[in-house]
């Protein structure tokens, strides 16, 4: 390096040959520099830093990896083991959707609104929300003739489903209808369906609206 710095930046002079750089540093690597005032603190300080970093790093890892669970992406999730997977039983209404989608949806539609003038709606229908046994009767033996639903007249045929569907399926489907699209009525049990089936065992014709109103309940 020149005694006066070359402010023109045209050329950088080197102050050490490559050989000597390598030799000197190889020596330095093997031997630590001589101890001067305050010097021995440095290795201790670095050792302390390393230990601190490893210690806090491990704690952080243990606290925030949540059992290395592949499905957990939140570090605030519970660190406890999920335990045995509890089978949450589905409600009748949830199970009934399958039956509804298989059978009833064709006429009453996925929205439960039916087809105006042809198939009556189930949404808000007094026939659905009213007596349990009445609706079970309809499903078991079908319905024929004029019927007023929510103020509108319908005149069509609903096929009997007592032969095609089991009690459990009927109970589920009706529960689904009574709990969907804003409807809010209690579920219907298979026992109710069985009871009504037994009561009306001899019947082999469609119901009419008039008959059902007469039967009451």
């Amino acid at each position: 390096m020149s005694a006066e710095p070359d402010k023109n930046f045209r050329l950088e002079q080197a102050c050490a040959s490559d050989d000597s750089i390598q030799q000197v540093h190889a020596q330095l690597q093997k031997t630590k520099p001589e101890k001067k005032e305050g010097y021995p603190l440095l290795p201790l300080g670095i050792l302390g830093l390393m230990c601190t970093v490893v210690f806090f790093g491990s704690i952080y890892l243990a606290h925030n990896s949540i059992r290395f669970d592949p499905l957990v992406f939140s570090e605030e999730a519970s660190r406890e083991k999920p335990g045995a997977l509890k089978i949450v039983p589905l409600t009748r209404a949830q199970l009934g959707k399958k039956t509804y989608d298989m059978t009833c949806i064709a006429c009453h539609q996925a929205t439960g609104l039916g087809v105006p003038g042809q198939y009556p709606p189930l949404v808000g229908s007094e026939w659905v929300l009213g007596s349990e046994e009445r609706i079970v009767r309809i499903v078991l033996h079908g319905l024929n003739g004029p019927i007023t639903v929510e103020g509108k007249e319908y005149n069509n045929v609903m096929a009997p489903l007592g032969g095609a569907l089991k009690d459990e399926q009927i109970a589920n489907a009706i529960s689904y209808v009574r709990a969907s699209w804003g409807n809010n009525a209690p579920e219907v049990t298979p026992e109710t369906v069985a009871k009504v089936r037994a009561e009306t065992a001899g019947r082999n014709t469609y119901w009419t609206a008039a008959e059902l109103e007469q039967a009451g309940k």
Binding site: E12, A16, D18, L28, I46, L49, F68
Partner: protein, 487 residues
């Protein structure tokens, strides 16, 4: 090997002569990409505050222009500069000539053709949508083949070394030479050839991106710093016995730290946590390297006034420390919550790539070119412009974008603020960023002109052949003894 100054000098001249044309050729490409990439980046940054700029042309829509610019700068400028510097340094430190340099021309040509096709492919719409891996699949083999030649040259030069001792710069170059192709090949395999399912892709991707910055660009920058400081100051690296520990710790921790880019992402939480812990661990090598480098510079700040190389290297070192601090901050969930997805996350990467790596390469170039060409730098004015704009630009952009990014994060996390209001608030900052990048581009243009003047055999009067004095041997003792050494 204790050669007399004359022998040493001849050997050095031989080494430099063998390296001259390959290194100049590669570095010329690097500078070309620096300007082209810089222009593309400027255009893409203008589009952020003036969306109508170039919006009618499908090739320059922002979603294509920004990745094209980034890839041009990283794979064009970054890699070419690293190749040029790495090959020269490895040859010098292995005290052996660069053999069969003709193959390096071939490799450099293939690499640059690959990058050109890749950038053109992105602009044409064949982007893969993974940051820094956007280049279409058909360039992969071209790049890997070109890299293989260069990597093999670097490693072979190391293995036929004439020296008994291996210096820190050589470890870093050696490591980088292997880490990049493995990172790149594995990422290409696991993302494109046999794509992982679902969020496994971002996990591989962040591993690659963090590895590219931390295991390729940082090691090359550190190799430059470790070499240039003792070379110019004539003082050994302080606390050098810590250097091997720093090297290994840096390597292992950086490799695991990619997950820290996925905080809050829909991946298993242990992945970002592991990345965060790895970033904690990186504190140790950063401290050790800081001790090495800043310790060497301690008490010698006066020599900065005479050395443009050292000034660039100082900027690079400061940027390394600051980038590491920012990286560490990003691993903290509270910080990441605000700073993710903003200008700050871009700043983190830019600091490593530009402020740390590119400045180190500039500094190294100012040192190497006179030795290769035998000429002095023609225009000190251009050197000062380059230095001034770089220092000013890096400083302004770092502070400005850090503040802007934090502000952007706070605005994004305020649900009461409509998104378009956030955009409007950021427009002045995007304009600021354009200004900063334009400033840097000005400096690059000055550098390009100076490089052209020194590298090409213009028969102009006024060129001074470089009078390179044989450097003295480094001694273990530091301090006043060095004042005795004369130019």
């Amino acid at each position: 090997m204790n050669s007399t100054p004359d022998n040493g000098r001849t050997e050095q001249m031989e080494i430099d002569a063998s390296a001259k044309w390959p290194v100049l050729f590669i570095f010329a490409h690097a500078l070309a990409w620096l300007i082209v990439g810089g222009a593309l980046e400027l255009a893409s940054v203008i589009q952020l505050h003036t969306p109508a700029f170039l919006a009618t042309c499908e090739w320059f829509t922002h979603g294509r222009l920004a990745p094209a610019a980034q890839n041009a700068l990283v794979y064009g400028w970054g890699f070419n500069a690293a190749f040029a510097f790495g090959l020269w340094l490895m040859a010098r430190l292995s005290a052996t000539t660069l053999r069969h340099g003709g193959w390096l021309f071939v490799a450099a040509k293939f690499w640059n053709v690959g990058v050109f096709l890749g950038v053109a492919g992105i602009l044409a719409g064949y982007s893969t949508s993974f940051e820094l891996l956007e280049m279409p699949r058909f360039v992969t083999f071209l790049l890997l083949a070109a890299y293989a030649i260069i990597g093999v040259w670097c490693v072979t030069t190391f293995s036929i070394r004439n020296t008994e001792n291996v210096f820190a710069s050589q470890w870093y170059l050696f490591g980088a030479a292997f880490w990049f192709p493995w990172l790149y090949a594995v990422a290409q395999l696991m993302l494109f050839r046999a794509p992982g399912r679902g969020v496994l892709q971002p996990v591989v991707h962040t591993w690659y991106v963090h590895g590219l910055y931390g295991l390729w660009f940082v090691p090359v920058a550190l190799a430059a710093a470790y070499y240039l400081l003792p070379k110019i100051l004539g003082k050994p690296i302080s606390n050098y016995y810590l250097a091997p520990l720093a090297f290994w710790w840096l390597a292992i921790a950086t490799a695991f730290a990619g997950g820290s880019r996925l905080i809050g992402a829909p991946v298993p939480v242990w992945i970002p946590t592991l990345g965060t812990v790895a970033n904690f661990m990186l504190v140790v090598p950063v401290v050790l390297i800081g001790l090495n480098l800043f310790g060497t510079l301690a008490g010698r700040y006066a020599s900065l006034s005479g050395s443009v190389t050292l000034r660039f290297v100082l900027v690079s070192m400061l940027a390394f420390v600051f980038a590491s601090v920012l990286n560490f901050a990003f691993s903290l969930r509270g910080f990441a919550e605000t700073a993710q997805f903003t200008l700050l996350s871009g700043l983190r990467d830019w600091l490593i790539f530009y402020a740390c790596f590119s400045t180190a390469m500039f500094g190294a170039a100012y040192f190497i070119m006179p030795r290769l060409t035998g000429q002095e730098w023609r225009s000190p004015a251009l050197v000062k412009i380059h230095l001034g704009t770089t220092v000013l630009g890096v400083g302004l952009l770092t502070v400005g974008l850090a503040w802007a990014g934090w502000h952007q994060g706070r605005l994004l996390n305020d649900p009461a603020l409509a998104f378009t209001d956030v955009s409007k608030a950021m427009v002045p900052w995007f304009t600021f960023r354009t200004g900063g990048l334009a400033l840097l581009l000005l400096g690059h243009a000055a550098f390009l002109v100076n490089f052209a003047l020194i590298a090409y055999p213009f028969n102009l009067s006024g060129t001074t052949p470089a009078q390179i004095n044989p450097p003295p041997d480094l001694s273990l003792s530091k301090g006043p003894a060095l004042e005795v050494l004369k130019a």
